[in-house]
Structures are given as C-alpha cells and as structure tokens.
C-alpha cells in the first residue's frame, strides 16, 4: 500500500498522438454513442478505443496501479495514473485543466475547483448504476430518516443545474459534478496496548495523560475538523457549523490547540500517510488522527492498533471522479465507459477489501466473498482470514471491524471534510499554529 501510493505509474504509452486518433474516431464514436455507453463493453468502436489514453490524477487512496491494469484488461483503453497529495491535487485541478482528463478528487476540493469551470457536469442518464448509488451522495441521507451532517456533505456539491451549471443545486438534477467512488468515516487511531484503558471521546486527544504522545495531521482543512471535534467534545466551543466556522470560532479552536502544543501535548504532526504509520508503529505516538488504511498498515506489522469509534461521531470524507472540461468525443465516451465500469463492482470490491466504502455497495458484493462482505460491510465476525487485495492478512476468524457495520459507521458521521468561507483566514491561523 505505502509504496503504491508514492509511485506514479503509466500504463502502456501509445506513440500515436491522442488528439489525431480522437479526430478520426469521433464519427464512429458518435454512431456508437447509444449502444457503447449503456452495455458497458464497447463493441463497434473497440478498435478505436484501444488507442485512447485517459489521464487520471488524484490522491493516493484510489489511484492504484491495479485499477489501471484492470481497465486495460476489461475496457481496452489506457489509464495513466498520477498520485499527488490533496494540496497538489487541488492546485492542478484549479490551474492546469489541460493536464488531465479525469480528476479523482474529494468533495471539498470540488467545492473549491468547480467555480473555475475546469470540470464538466455528467449526465446521470448515462450512468448505468445511478439508481443504486448510496443516498449520501444523492439526497444526503443514508437512510430516509438520517440527518445530513455538518461540513461539505457530498450532496451539497454533487449536483449542478445543467450541463453548464456553475452553481450547486440543492436536489438531484440529473447533472452530477463528481461520480462518487470512495468514502469512509475517519476517527482517532490508538495503540490499545500502550494506553491500556477504553477510549471513548475525542477529548482524549488533548488529555494530559498522553502528553508528548499525541499527534494530529498537518493538512489544514482536515486538521481543523479534528481539532473542532475535540474542542466541541470538551465543551469548550459550541460551533454553528464545524464545516464552516466563523473567524471567532477558528481563533478559539486554534488558541486551545496552540496552548496544548506549547505544553508539549504533541509528539509530532504528520502530513503523509507513511508518517502517520511510522509514528504509530514505532510507539512515538499512542493516539492520533489517522486514516483507515494506515491502521491496516500498522496492524499488518503485527502491532495492535484500533480505529477507535468515539461517541461524538466520525469525521467523514468522500471522493469522486470528475471529468475535465476539455474532454469530448471518443474520449468522453471512454470516460463514461470508465465510470460505468468503476461502479460495476470490481473496483468497489477492491476498495472495500481495504476498508473503504464503495458508492454502489451492492455491485461490490459480487466481487467479495461472504466472509469479506460480512466483515467489512455488515460488521460481522470474520469466519476466516481477512486479507487485503495485496495479500496481507488484516484480521483473523472471530475479529470484527472497529466501529461495526456500514450503517453504524456511516450513520454516525458528525461532520464532512470541508472548505470554509473563511478558508484563507483559517489557513493562516493554522500556519501560525504549526509555527507557534
């Protein structure tokens, strides 16, 4: 996992210019438009599509070489993957629209990038499994009676009025900004063997008991959320909306954390996945903000590590695929093809076996065995070894997933990763906190 995140892979590169193929293939593609996109497997223009190369970039979590290989196998065209950190992804999506065809970004990044007009809305009638996409990404509700969490919830930036819509729509409109691909609920990771007592609340991150053994991630837009979860749990601050704080709320939050930092509460801050794994595995840190696969990575070294569910709920995030504005003709069709394939289950199963969730869980089920489905999705005890797609044993018979089932975890989301109106102010304050 760790190595794969860092590498930038390219599938076979064709010597022929992409654009020239595109012109030649456009007419054929037009004829095949209806049939190709809906059946999911191209037939008529199979020869042309072989030469298509789609350039995808995004954060490491879902930019996996295995996906590119499988695309080549199943769909016949090439997918070039570039993995970057979230700051770099935002930067590229906002400033270099011609450098990519497909942007694999998070919903909060979408809120930032959509106004630049670099992405195009997607016609949901071309998405075969649209009806099966989880409610979180459509109405915003997981089940009909759930409440939409604070922050940049995916449904609030998931739709626009029309193909050229600039403003986000409140309901489903048939034009999606991102096709959801991957999401999860984040919480604190702990080392139960070094803590030796139950951890139940976000407040424990600033508990003096863990002085010099705590850590928080140094990515401002996510770190501020974890900080807010802690401050709210401590009862120090009541937020109107943790995902969209006022300047005063930002100041108070950072003041509490700056004081904790000066008192030596934190051992280190981390910015990359690998850093968080190393901090935890080496025992430098016993409680910290963490991502699900990082827990898995620590566990696969034979070290006890728990993704601790907390009573205040989870901080959640979701990602999706967006299409570049400059994508047209055959390539656009190939991109729809790719999206339909993405939601068809293979990728979903691949991601869910690492602990993420797929936007269309029911198709992923076809690519997971009963034991895996029970463990990852239903929160049941494993009946045999649970292995990651890369072959590491993650759990043994009798283990259950931290936090339980899909509905337990995604139903307890307190806040979504977000970008605030006062973002620039927040970023400056965050920088001051890091420098303090």
């Amino acid at each position: 996992m760790t190595d794969k995140v860092a590498t930038t892979d390219q599938m076979t590169k064709t010597g022929v210019s992409r654009r020239s193929i595109l012109k030649g293939g456009a007419a054929v593609a037009g004829a095949a438009l209806g049939s190709g996109a809906i059946t999911g497997f191209p037939t008529v223009w199979a020869q042309n599509i072989k030469d298509v190369t789609l350039r995808q970039f995004g954060t490491g979590v879902s930019n996996l070489n295995e996906v590119a290989q499988k695309v080549k196998e199943d769909l016949g065209f090439n997918l070039e993957m570039t993995a970057l950190d979230s700051d770099a992804v935002t930067q590229r999506a906002a400033t270099q629209p011609d450098s990519f065809d497909i942007a694999d970004i998070e919903y909060w990044i979408c809120k930032k990038v959509w106004p630049t007009g670099n992405l195009q809305a997607m016609d949901t009638s071309k998405i075969k499994n649209y009806d099966k996409i989880v409610g979180i990404f459509k109405s915003g509700k997981l089940t009909p009676d759930s409440v939409v969490a604070q922050g940049t919830a995916p449904n609030t930036v998931g739709f626009v009025d029309g193909p050229d819509g600039k403003a986000f729509a409140k309901e489903e409109t048939g034009w999606m900004t991102l096709i959801p691909t991957i999401y999860n609920a984040d919480t604190l990771g702990i080392r139960p063997d070094l803590i030796g007592r139950p951890i139940e609340s976000w407040t424990e991150l600033l508990n003096p008991e863990f002085k010099g053994k705590a850590s928080i991630l140094d990515i401002s837009s996510i770190g501020i959320m974890d900080a807010a979860m802690v401050c709210e749990a401590m009862g120090e601050i009541q937020y109107g909306d943790k995902g969209n704080m006022t300047r005063e709320e930002i100041d108070k939050t950072m003041a509490i954390f700056t004081e904790a930092k000066k008192n030596g509460q934190f051992r280190a801050f981390w910015k990359t996945f690998d850093e968080s794994v190393n901090l935890m595995a080496s025992g430098e840190v016993v409680i910290q903000s963490m991502w699900s696969p990082a827990i898995t990575a620590v566990k696969s070294r034979g070290i006890e590590c728990v993704y601790q569910p907390l009573k205040e709920g989870y901080r959640s995030w979701g990602g999706g695929i967006g299409l570049s504005k400059s994508l047209t003709g055959l390539e656009l069709e190939a991109a729809y093809e790719y999206i339909n394939w993405y939601l068809d289950g293979w990728v979903g199963g691949f991601l869910m076996r690492q602990g993420y969730y797929s936007a269309v869980p029911e198709t992923s089920k076809n690519y997971m065995d009963e034991n895996e489905w029970g463990y990852w999705f239903e929160g049941k005890e494993a009946t045999g070894d649970i292995t990651s797609p890369f072959g590491d044993v993650l759990a043994k018979a009798g283990d259950t997933r931290d936090g339980g089932s899909f509905y337990d975890r995604m139903g307890a989301v307190a806040c979504w990763n977000s970008v605030m109106d006062e973002n620039q102010y927040m970023v400056r304050k965050w920088n001051e906190f890091i420098a303090a």
Binding site: D218, R267, S282, A435
Partner: protein
C-alpha cells in the same frame, strides 16, 4: 585565451571566406573582447538568476484567491508578513538554527581539516582520508537525515542503549522531534561544506611559515592562532557562507526532524506554496533573500575573499 578562439586554418572553405575580411578577436579593442568573453556567463546569469529573482519580486506584490493569482500592485503580502508576530518568531528561529549549526560545523570542520592538512603526512593518505569524508555524500541527504529518526526515537537505538547501560531510566524524549534533532541533522548534513574549503586553504599555506613560527619560539597554540587561523580565514568564510545559506534556505530537514513541530522560513514558504498562496510565498522569499544577503555582507566585512584568494 584569445589565441584559442581563432579559427583553425585547415578548414578550407571557411578559411577562404575569412581571407577577404579577416576577423579575429585579437584585432578587436580589449574592452569589446572582454565583454564578448563574458557574454555567455552574463546571459546565463541573466536568464537563470536575475530574471527568476525579478519574477519573484514582481509576484510578491500580486494578489491571490484560493485557486488563482492575479497581477496587482499591493502591499498586502508584506503587510501580513511583517505584522504577524509569528514571522519574527520564525525568522528568529531560522537565525538560531543557522548560528548554532555554523558554530558546531566550524569547530568540527576546522578540526577535521587541520588534522588532514597538518597531521597526515603523506599526500596519498590525505586524499584517502578526504575521500572517506565524502562517502556519506554518495547517498541522498534525505536518507541520511531520515535514518536518524529510528535511531533517536523513544524506543530507538540511542535510548535503548542508554537504558541498558543504566545511564537513564526513562527514554529521553528530547532526542527526537526537537531543536536538538534538527541541529544534529544539520550538522551531519553540512559539516563537509565546512571541511572542504578550510582543508583547501590549509593545503595552500606555505609550510615554511609554520617552520618559521616554531623557529621563532612560538608554541603550538600561538602558531595556530597567529599563523594558521589568519591564513585559513578565506576558507572559513567560504564554508560559513555555504553552511549559513544552506541552513537558512532549508525546509525539509526542519519538517522531518522536528516532526513538523518547529518552523523556519523555508517551511513558511513551502506551506504557502502548498496552499496556492504564491504571492505570499514570494514575499516571504524576498524577505529571506534580503536577510541572507545581509548576513553574508556582514560575513564579508571580516575578510576580503577576493584579495585573499
């Protein structure tokens, strides 16, 4: 120099063409020759040094939104930078790292160079030992830096050794992710930049001067302070400039070795760039550039390097 640039006459057609209007650099006035000879370097410096710096200065006055920058002439970036107490704290911290690292690398670098130049008698051994010093530089400096992390960690080799020796009971927390570890890494990374120039100047000291000092009854210490150190000054200055500029411009060492807990100016800039705040990063870079130039000009007041070389 000028002779070499003259055309070689064996290239027949070219030689004929030149026979009519012979063109030779040596016929041009000296001033023009001088300018022509320096032209390549001037062009290189212009395009790759002056132009980028000018761009940075220009951009530092621009404005930025969350995802774009726009041309403007405003002082917002400087205003925010110069009115924030964090800026002063961070600059102070940067200077602190530079000073401490400079002092330690100077002592170590001078000692190593002195040993190589005056205690090792044969040239072969001098070269062998000098190359030995450079071996660590065959690996990436990031790797050399990161390898300290498991060594210094709470359960690292340093702590477990000290505990098993009975020197300490509890692991020392300040070994890693602290100013100590940052400076340790700096010293490790940059001492060679002090050794090389000092060794170089020491090798060029005329040995008879040292003989003369002894003959006149100077003690070892007196020879060192009155003969060797003054004659080594240019090397010390060059090494100092290397170390000070490297440390002041660094960001990655501070980030890794302090576990992101400490900040220096380089980190301010890299944070700004990561968040697309290019104008603000440019403004910080300009201030840093001015600071470093000031430091170097102070250093140069002590020694006229040109004269000494």
């Amino acid at each position: 120099m000028t002779d070499q640039t003259q055309p070689v006459s064996s290239t027949a057609p070219a030689a004929k063409a030149r026979a009519k209007a012979p063109f030779s650099l040596s016929r041009l006035p000296d001033a023009v020759t001088g300018w022509l000879l320096s032209l390549p370097l001037v062009l290189v410096l212009f395009f790759f040094l002056l132009l980028p710096i000018a761009m940075i200065v220009v951009v530092s006055f621009w404005g930025a939104t969350e995802f774009s920058i726009y041309p403007a002439f405003q002082f917002d970036n400087y205003e925010f930078l110069l009115t924030s107490p964090v800026t002063y704290q961070v600059f102070l911290n940067t200077v602190k790292y530079a000073l401490i690292t400079w002092a330690i690398t100077l002592v170590i670098g001078f000692t190593v160079a002195y040993f190589l130049a005056f205690h090792v008698r044969t040239l072969t051994w001098q070269i062998v030992l000098f190359l030995l010093c450079t071996i660590p530089f065959w690996t990436s400096n990031i790797i050399r830096m990161i390898s300290w992390i498991p060594f210094l960690g709470r359960n690292g080799i340093a702590n477990s050794t000290l505990i098993s020796m009975g020197v300490i009971d509890e692991p020392l927390e300040w070994l890693l992710f602290s100013d100590f570890s940052v400076i340790l890494a700096f010293v490790h990374l940059y001492t060679l930049f002090m050794v090389v120039p000092i060794f170089n100047t020491m090798m060029r000291i005329d040995r008879s001067l040292i003989e003369a000092a002894y003959d006149n009854g100077a003690s070892g210490l007196q020879t060192l302070t009155n003969v060797i150190i003054p004659l080594t000054k240019p090397g010390i200055m060059i090494g100092s400039i290397f170390v000070v500029t490297l440390v002041m411009g660094d960001f990655i060492t501070v980030r890794f070795m302090s576990g992101s807990q400490k900040a220096n100016v380089g980190r301010l800039i890299s944070n700004d760039i990561a968040l697309l705040q290019y104008p603000s990063a440019a403004a910080t870079a300009v201030i840093l550039l001015i600071t470093v130039l000031l430091v170097i000009s102070i250093l140069l007041r002590f020694v006229d390097i040109r004269k000494e070389l």
